[in-house]
């Protein structure tokens, strides 16, 4: 895979940064000339991933969140959201729709939204070390 462009971003896990993070990623995505729907999909998926870091990764205060976004050939957009927080013991369970440890006001839909709004998602996590969510969105239809 040949990377044509790349950006990296790091910021504190403050909820006020959720809008900043999805805004920054969508600004970077603009050079691929996305449709309104594609842009909304990526924004929503990034918002979910960043929110997970803020709600779950650092229960004892704020830590850093790292985003990298890459543009590869054939309109492939790869965005990865990483934290160095508490990690997820059971990734499969965390990804089940409606599963949440976030309390009554959280719907438990974060990963379901990421899955349905992108073309692929990979989650790697080590308890005590952190979690990385990598999502791929293809902006150009296959021939």
């Amino acid at each position: 895979m040949k990377v044509l462009n790349e950006m990296k971003l790091s910021f504190m896990s403050r909820s006020v940064n959720e809008g900043f993070a999805r805004g920054a990623v969508s600004a970077f995505l603009m050079q691929l000339d996305p449709t309104v729907t594609q842009l909304a999909d990526v924004k929503t998926a990034v918002s979910e991933a960043v929110t997970n870091c803020i709600v779950h990764a650092y229960p004892e205060g704020a830590g850093m969140i790292y985003i990298s976004a890459k543009i590869a050939e054939e309109g492939k957009f790869i965005v990865s959201v990483r934290d160095k927080g508490c990690g997820i013991a059971d990734v499969r369970q965390a990804m089940e729709p409606l599963f949440t440890t976030g309390g009554e006001e959280r719907a438990g839909l974060g990963f379901a939204v990421m899955q349905s709004f992108t073309d692929s998602i990979r989650v790697t996590s080590k308890p005590g070390r952190g979690t990385t969510v990598t999502m791929v969105k293809r902006l150009k239809k296959d021939e």
Partner: protein, 113 residues
């Protein structure tokens, strides 16, 4: 101001605007719940017509208010969801609660099929 209210004969309408994410939902929740506790409406309408962006936090917001209205013996209705936000609403399955009201819902479904 991300929420404004209008009240008429026991119906409280909360007009939501801007982005509903985890950060914004917190403040919206506080203000809606405060208004519900003050006026005890029989029907709470969440009007989404001016919402620009939402993630699953908005679903949590709806579900939480659904529970609150059940608790005080009232109902909730979600209205005027803009077309670009419907996919998330449909994915969430909250339609099963019977709270959704949007015009031309079936038509939109056929169009996207």
């Amino acid at each position: 101001m991300n929420v404004s209210f209008s009240s008429f004969q026991g119906e409280l309408t909360a007009f939501l605007s801007g982005d509903i994410d985890h950060h914004g939902a917190r403040d919206m929740r506080r203000r809606i719940d405060g208004e519900v506790e003050r006026s005890h409406p029989s029907l709470l309408i969440l009007d989404f017509s001016s919402v620009q962006f939402m993630d699953s936090s908005a679903i949590g917001l709806i579900m939480g208010r659904y529970r609150l209205m059940q608790l005080i013996g009232g109902y909730i209705r979600v209205s005027n969801v803009p077309a670009h936000l419907k996919r998330l609403i449909e994915l969430s399955g909250i339609g099963a609660l019977g709270v959704l009201e949007y015009k031309g819902k079936e038509k939109d479904k056929n169009e996207s099929a």
